[in-house]
């Protein structure tokens, strides 16, 4: 869309946010009774659902069992109605496979897999509405779902996307900002130690600006962590009230 100003002179973005502001995040844990853990997150208009089964016995070939750790299996699927144009293949295409691999990589690093050898943890993520930052929303939803399932993790895994326009780093890109074609960075962070579990960047960004964008994404991920932490605590409070403690 030519002529669309991603960052106005007063510093406002297309949807009225400031450069470092996140979209409104609402999340709920324990949305499905059947699964071991589940969570639903809305980041602005991006809606993602995550479901965790495990740890359980390895399905399929026993040969894949790892003798000292659990196997983490992730599947990403985006609904056909999630984007503006109807998608023909919800899963099985290369992008979904890649997302699944990236999610697996992120969670293998964060989950304490040594505690459950020879077993399997399944994480299924479904995107219901994609309005930018789908990877980040998936990771945040999956973190909540893994916590809901009670699987021990090193730390929260919080993710956020970041971009760069007019020498300013933008945090939490929406679809409009992503489609404009500027550089986009997706970062998954373990907030306490500041370690990066996954880093992915597209489109051209000059090396000198890399630090700025990384810092913006890291700060945004830490803000997400505060919110998710609040969600988890609230959920635990509710659950304990229901249990009558």
């Amino acid at each position: 869309m030519a002529g669309l100003e991603l960052l106005s002179d007063q510093g406002y973005r297309v949807d009225g946010r400031r450069a470092g502001e996140l979209r409104k995040i609402q999340a709920r844990m324990g949305v499905f009774a059947q699964a071991d853990g589940s969570a639903y997150i809305e980041q602005g208009n991006t809606k993602a659902l995550a479901v965790v089964y495990g740890p359980h016995e390895i399905r399929g070939s026993r040969a894949r069992a790892l003798p000292d750790r659990a196997l983490v299996n992730c599947q990403y699927s985006s609904a056909t109605f999630s984007t503006g144009e109807r998608k023909r293949r919800p899963h099985g295409d290369r992008k979904s496979c890649e997302m699944g691999l990236q999610l697996r990589q992120t969670f293998e690093a964060a989950i304490l897999t040594q505690l459950h050898p020879r077993s399997q943890i399944d994480i299924y993520v479904q995107v219901l509405q994609a309005d930018g930052g789908t990877y980040a929303a998936c990771v945040n939803a999956a973190t909540l779902a893994v916590l809901d399932a009670g699987i021990p993790m090193r730390d929260f895994v919080c993710a956020c996307s970041a971009g760069f326009v007019d020498s300013t780093a933008l945090a939490d890109l929406s679809h409009v900002e992503e489609a404009a074609g500027g550089p986009q960075l997706a970062l998954a962070l373990l907030p306490a130690s500041g370690q990066i579990a996954l880093l992915e960047m597209d489109a051209r960004l000059h090396e000198d600006h890399l630090e700025q964008v990384l810092e913006a994404a890291a700060q945004a991920a830490r803000d997400v962590h505060t919110l998710l932490d609040h969600v988890v605590r609230q959920h635990v409070c509710e659950a304990s009230v229901l249990l009558g403690d």
Binding site: E85, R94, K95, C97, E98, L101, Q102, Q105, T106, E108, A109, G181, P183, L185, L190, S193, G194, Q195, I196, A197, L198, L199, E200, M201, D202, A203, R204, L205, H206, E207, D208, L210, E211, L214, E215, A218
Partner: protein, 456 residues
């Protein structure tokens, strides 16, 4: 075939070497392997060799109708295939994870960074555009596929010429190469991927890992940059935890490497251009004669051996004598040797009365090897044909006789240094030597008989 697993000692060896900043092929931490680029006869065909990793790239084009939402842009299609000849582990059904990862990385590196001007590929808006297809085949896998593939892709794209086309009103005329010279693609910049391998939870880092190093690495960070120091893609994979300053440092290193590689590519393209213009021979067929593509040549590394003798003497003089435990092979008969002690041989029936002897025999084997620690001041005596005789042996200093196999043989003709177990091995750990010995390997009954005879 499933990939053969890496043995633990090899893994430990590689990791230890990396900790000491040494690589198997002698490179430094930030060194790339030799890159060789050669072109085929057609425009758009090239082979890139990164060390022993070989990738073949071919670009082709076709006039098609454009995508509905991008009516004025051409279509770029990338495809990397891991050929079964590249590694025994690559089989048609098995490669999906690696394949998806590499393909997506290539796509993002080349397509999202807009290195090619897709609008210039448009012929008639909404009706006819060029579809450029880049096919990459991995011919040999020796690590770092992504770097080689990205170089091959960009070189092939730079080398490619598409047929010239002209539009007059509604008519589109496609000229053959004979009518009009083919036209190169308009390429804005050349993104090159640089891979960093991390070891020991991110403590050590190597550029351009080869296949062995890839097997023991914790994770990989790929940074694609062009020579203007613009980062086109970053991708971390493999479950390593990175820190921000590590990423920044890697991007600086990548900048330097990409400059060097881009220069090499430009030179290769210019050379090929020159050869074609001058009417010289070009193409892969030419390389057969000069053995460039079709042979695996091990390059000779120049080593300075001028002062090797002095250095060696110094080292030997300063070194302490080697430790005492040495396992020399004990040659029982020609063709049967024994190294080490092993556990007690439990063949043959054991009755209680003979168990003691059995035990003694067991320790004989140990003593034979202890005897190797003797010094050369050992007396040897000749033996008559039958029967046993022994010579006392001085147990002197514990200097080692290095690596002379002790030959034990039944032959009665030869005169040789043979060891024989002591009569009462439990009391004194001295060794006996007989010039000849009737000892047969682990023939327990024979041993027992001898013992009885000796006792008698």
């Amino acid at each position: 075939m499933k990939e053969t697993p890496l043995s633990n000692c090899e893994r430990r060896f590689l990791l230890r070497a990396i900790e000491e900043k040494k690589r198997l092929d002698g490179r430094q931490t930030y060194d790339y392997r030799n890159i060789k680029i050669s072109f085929g006869t057609d425009y758009g065909c090239c082979i890139v060799e990164l060390g022993k990793t070989r990738v073949l790239g071919q670009v082709s084009c076709e006039l098609v109708s454009p995508k509905l939402n991008r009516a004025t842009e051409g279509i770029l299609f990338f495809n990397l295939e891991l050929s079964q000849m590249a590694a025994p582990a690559f089989e048609p059904g098995r490669q999906s994870d690696l394949l998806v990862k590499l393909n997506r990385l290539l796509e993002r590196c080349l397509r999202n960074s807009k290195c090619i001007d897709t609008e210039s590929l448009c012929v008639v808006a909404g009706e006819k555009v060029w579809q450029i297809r880049v096919d990459l085949h991995l011919l040999n896998h020796d690590g770092n596929i992504i770097d080689a593939a990205s170089i091959a892709a960009i070189v092939a794209l730079c080398h490619f010429r598409r047929p010239d086309v002209s539009v007059q009103g509604d008519e589109v005329t496609l000229y053959t190469p004979e009518e009009r010279d083919p036209v190169p693609l308009s390429i804005h910049h050349m993104p090159i991927c640089v891979s960093f391998a991390f070891f020991q939870q991110g403590t050590y880092l190597l550029v351009d890992p080869n296949e062995r190093e890839e097997r023991v690495m914790d994770g990989l960070l790929v940074i694609a940059m062009n020579k203007h120091r613009e980062i086109c893609t970053i991708q971390s994979s493999g479950g390593i935890m990175l820190l921000k300053d590590q990423v920044l440092r890697c991007s600086k290193i990548a900048g330097v490497k990409v400059l060097e590689i881009t220069e090499l590519i430009q030179k290769a393209l210019e050379n090929d251009q020159k050869v074609r213009k001058e009417g010289g021979k070009f193409g892969f067929a030419e390389s057969i004669a000069s053995q460039r593509i079709t042979a695996f040549k091990m390059e000779k590394a120049p080593i300075d051996t001028s002062d090797v003798e002095e250095k060696a003497e110094e080292i030997i003089a300063e070194a302490e004598p080697p430790s005492e435990v040495v396992s020399n092979p004990v040659l029982w008969t020609p063709g049967t040797a024994q190294i080490g002690e092993g556990i007690e041989n439990s063949w043959g029936d054991l009755e209680d009365s003979e168990k003691e002897e059995e035990d003694e025999d067991g320790t004989d084997e140990a003593i034979i090897l202890d005897s190797l620690k003797m010094d050369t001041g050992v007396e040897v005596s000749n033996i008559g044909s039958q029967g046993l005789s022994r010579a006392q042996v001085l147990t002197g200093t514990q200097a080692v006789r290095p690596y002379a196999p002790i030959v034990l043989s039944d032959s009665e003709e030869e005169e040789m240094i043979i060891l024989e177990p002591d009569k009462n091995p439990k009391k004194i750990r001295t060794q006996t030597i007989s010039a000849k010995q009737e000892k047969a390997p682990s023939k327990k009954p024979v041993k027992k008989r001898k013992k009885k005879r000796a006792a008698n």
